[in-house]
């Protein structure tokens, strides 16, 4: 049995609390790293992270990419979409094929 966590700036994630996801608002990247590590080892199946915060924790995120769980998924925050989530998908295509031949022109 796993739970679902959402981590990011308070304004971006407070709504998820109503749905029953665990929200962890963070204010800076140092705090973000600390909480993210706790969550990643804390029995969460899916961790949604705002793109803004993910940008600062990219080294941490990379570690969990090849692990079975948790799935760390980037979501856009309230301040808008940085395109990091889509870039992540493109990156995995690049890793698998060698160059992005599917979404390259988009």
């Amino acid at each position: 049995m796993y739970k679902v966590a959402v981590i990011g700036g308070y304004d971006s994630i407070y709504g998820f609390a109503a749905l029953g996801l665990d929200t962890y608002p963070v204010e800076n990247s140092a705090e973000g790293v600390k909480i993210f590590r706790q969550l990643a080892d804390g029995g969460y199946g899916v961790i949604y992270i705002t793109e803004a915060l993910a940008g600062e924790l990219s080294a941490e995120l990379e570690k969990y990419k090849e692990q079975y769980l948790p799935a760390v998924i980037q979501i856009p925050g309230v301040s808008g979409n940085t395109g990091a989530g889509i870039a992540g998908v493109k990156k995995s295509v690049e890793q698998a094929i060698g160059s992005d031949i599917i979404f390259g022109e988009q």
């Binding site: 049995m1 796993y2 739970k3 679902v4 971006s12 407070y14 709504g15 998820f16 609390a17 109503a18 749905l19 029953g20 996801l21 199946g45 899916v46 949604y48 990419k65 090849e66 079975y68 769980l69 799935a71 998924i73 979501i75 856009p76 925050g77 309230v78 979409n81 989530g85 889509i86 992540g88 998908v89 995995s92 295509v93 890793q95 698998a96 094929i97 599917i102 979404f103």
Partner: protein, 222 residues
């Protein structure tokens, strides 16, 4: 000439031949694995992208709704309203095996079956916009979980493809040619040894015959 130092012995030759057979077989299998992984990955990554675009749009819309909701009520009221959620989401993760890559499959359950439990507040002090905002976020949640599953699968598959591709390339361009080269070197060396011992024997035979019959002396006396 072989790149690595090998002992030109029959034992080594047998070992190398066996190695070559294994390597060739492994190469074929890994190549098939890579192709199949690639096929599955391409299907999955297209779904992943479509899903992601949809989820991002949904979250964006929900965020807009939340901003509107926030505008029409005080921050304290909003905080209090969302402070104690009634609903909880649990995930059940089962494992699906795709070409020996374990990928998780999520099945989600909510603590209560009532869909209205997402509204964890009394309606007296909050604006109707908040209800809309929460509803729009709740609508996108199943898609978000599906996205999590797909995206994780894509990440796991892509790293497995990368590993497999490296192995295929290493076998194809390094291990197999090197072994073939070594086998060729040993075969040639052994042949060469055989020829040289043949010649040595012929020479010895000549010498022994010479000693027994003194051909050369007879030739001179004629």
């Amino acid at each position: 000439m072989a790149k690595t130092q090998v002992n030109p012995t029959r034992m080594e030759l047998t070992r190398l031949k066996r190695k070559l057979v294994t390597a060739t077989r492994g190469h074929k299998l890994l190549k098939d694995k890579r192709d199949e992984l690639m096929r599955q990955f391409l299907d999955m990554v297209r779904d992943n992208m479509a899903l992601r675009l949809r989820v991002e749009e949904g979250i964006k819309a929900a965020n807009t709704n939340f901003v509107i909701a926030k505008a029409s009520m005080s921050e304290e009221t909003l905080h209090t309203a969302l402070m104690a959620p009634k609903q909880e989401v649990y995930l059940e993760a089962s494992t699906k095996n795709v070409m020996s890559v374990d990928i998780p499959e999520f099945d989600y359950r909510t603590r209560t079956a009532d869909t209205n439990d997402i509204y964890s507040y009394g309606f007296a002090f909050t604006s109707g916009d908040l209800d809309d905002a929460v509803k729009s976020l709740a609508d996108i949640l199943p898609k978000m979980l599906e996205l999590a599953q797909k995206e994780k699968a894509c990440q796991l598959l892509s790293s497995e493809i990368e590993k497999t591709r490296r192995r295929v390339n290493a076998l194809e361009h390094v291990i197999i040619p090197e072994t073939q080269e070594n086998i060729k070197y040993i075969t040639m060396k052994l042949d060469e040894n055989e020829r040289s011992s043949q010649i040595r024997l012929l020479k010895v035979k000549d010498m022994m015959l010479e000693k027994a019959h003194h051909y050369q002396e007879k030739e001179v006396s004629w």
